[in-house]
């Protein structure tokens, strides 16, 4: 791979229009399913995939100019839409501290149409969503045990509001709000949690 292409300013700027994911395969069996799915035979390998995760093609030339063109062409074809969600807890913490906002974890149930639900939640929250860093976490079903224990989730869906200024915010949440109520009630409770956060400034 052309040394430095991913440190090129124009590449970095272009890549912000798509979703760059680093798939670490350092440990034996790490991300094995993804490696198999995309037929990875060596490292590094870069694959472009569509929003549903279907392979578009493998990256061709590794020159910065070529990468920028590839990415710009794909971003023009798939322009995307903005979203209020952060996609990992560490990232949410980083954003919460930087933007001075509380974190609203949305604990979801397994087996739902998550994309549809997240868009619906965003729509229901309206302008209030801008006052929080939203992040989805699995709250029920396979793979949710760690989240349930760490965050004290009893039932999903629910919101858990955290203060990122604390060292271990999950140990002392600002609020736990059942999300299967009318949106006006949920919003009111989120506003209450927001006030608590602001009063601690």
């Amino acid at each position: 791979m052309n040394a430095g292409a991913f440190s090129d300013e124009k590449v970095i700027a272009a890549v912000q229009k798509i979703v760059p994911v680093l798939v670490d395969c350092s440990e034996k069996g790490q991300n094995a399913e993804l490696q198999q799915r995309f037929e990875i035979q060596g490292y590094p390998t870069v694959i472009y995939a569509d929003a549903e995760g279907k392979k578009i093609r493998k990256m061709g030339s590794r020159e910065a100019r070529s990468i920028v063109k590839d990415v710009e062409d794909l971003a023009a074809k798939y322009p995307g839409r903005p979203s209020a969600w952060a996609y990992s807890f560490p990232k949410a913490m980083e954003l919460g501290k930087k933007e001075k906002k509380p974190i609203a974890l949305y604990a979801y149930k397994e087996g739902i149409d998550l994309v549809k639900i997240l868009r619906s939640v965003e729509s229901d929250l309206g302008e209030l969503k801008k006052k929080f860093i939203l992040v989805p976490v699995k709250g029920e079903g396979e793979g949710s045990k760690e989240n349930r224990e760490k965050l004290g989730i009893e039932t999903a869906p629910c919101f858990i509001v955290l203060d990122p200024r604390q060292d271990k915010p999950e140990e002392n949440p600002l609020a736990r709000i059942a999300a299967d109520k009318k949106s006006v009630t949920v919003k009111k409770e989120l506003e209450g949690a927001l006030k608590q956060y602001q009063q601690k400034e």
């Binding site: 979703v19 760059p20 994911v21 350092s26 590094p44």
Partner: protein, 55 residues
């Protein structure tokens, strides 16, 4: 002596460049594939999947 210093310096630069490249340069990579795929789906954006290994 000069050529030795030059050789060592070249090796340092080359190694540093390779390491930077191995770790994906300065792009702000999402390091959680599940989160990345979800983000792409919700935002209807293209994914760039950088498969790498460091040994």
């Amino acid at each position: 002596m000069k050529s030795l210093i030059l050789a060592v310096w070249s090796l340092v630069v080359f190694t540093g460049t390779c390491l930077a490249q191995e770790h994906g340069g300065k792009v702000e990579w999402i390091r959680d594939p599940e989160g990345g795929f979800l983000k792409a789906q919700v935002e209807q954006r293209v994914l760039m999947l950088y498969f790498t290994a460091t040994w």
